[in-house]
Symmetry: C2
Subunit: 153 residues, 2 copies
DNA sequence: TCTGATAGTCAGGGTTCCTGAACAACTATC
DNA sequence: GATAGTTGTTCAGGAACCCTGACTATCAGA
């Protein structure tokens, strides 16, 4: 009998696989964006653009949509404003609030990011096969409790 | 024509889906462990147990295996030692080194974690279907560049 | 024995997120 | 129209997680 069994959690579980895939994906996206000159944004900043609209969005709305504290979102917006990706304009209907809007550079970053993400997804789809990739996306949606199309809540 | 197109990165991409699934999974694992009395460990501490062996493992080896700096692993081990999950014993063959070994509580935590992870994976497999779950695991392995069985490098 | 590599720690920093507290402005109500 | 409560934002401080640089002690080979 072996007196020295391994102690670890056993084979690599789903959580580890998900995390590794996530970090690889996001790392690749930001590497490619950096090559295109967008080397001053960090992954956390993407949360700002994720829910930004052309006409401007309030800080609290961005925070709610990203499920982080308004103070945290405020810091991200401060960064992006300093870097020239977004601007704050006064909300004409509410003097407490500011509307956060993308600048031209911000719009350029979003265009570049969309292309990079789409290209990377296509590349991964070719790697594992279109069908399995589609199944992966659907399965993740289901696990995440997302409706196939979209979900606002 | 619409003068106000959305600015965000488009539909939710693979990276977001992966991250959301990861956080849900890990959150559920630690919730269940907390219910069983293991409420003083944080996710980062799992990296210690992941590569621990009964006879003891050096800090540097744990750090290499987890791909983090020795200083970071040292802090995790400090925590777990203070919490009674692991102990440090002098390496009889190398006075520079300490061997990190699980305590009985550490072994109990690993047993509990294995059960929780297995149960959660079974639950998710039932949710999306056994076949699709198996495909998910395989596809993630392939995307992660892992050989189906195991991989050390 | 000297030299370089290795094990571990101390000090300090960056990123990402949090809570608590404050203040201004809005809104509903009496 | 004064008051009370809510909302938008910011300031201050801290926790978790990881990093690099610098240092000491020890080992191992020339």
């Amino acid at each position: 009998m072996s007196s020295d069994p391994p102690v670890g959690y056993g084979r690599r579980h789903l959580g580890i696989k998900l995390r590794q895939a996530y970090e690889t994906f996001i790392g690749e996206v930001f590497d490619r964006l950096a090559e295109q000159g967008f080397d001053d944004m960090r992954p956390a900043h993407a949360q700002v653009f994720q829910n930004l609209r052309e006409e401007g969005v309030r800080l609290t709305e961005l925070a709610r949509a990203a499920a982080i504290a308004p103070q945290s979102m405020g810091a991200l917006v401060d960064d992006l404003e300093r870097l020239g990706y977004v601007e704050r304009v006064r909300d004409p209907h509410d003097r407490r609030a500011a509307l956060i809007r993308p600048t031209e550079r911000g719009r350029a970053e979003v265009r570049a990011a969309r292309k990079v993400i789409a290209a990377l997804e296509r590349q991964w789809a070719r790697t594992v096969g279109e069908e399995r990739f589609a199944t992966l996306m659907e399965t993740l949606d289901e696990l995440n409790g997302d409706a196939p199309a979209d979900r606002l809540l």
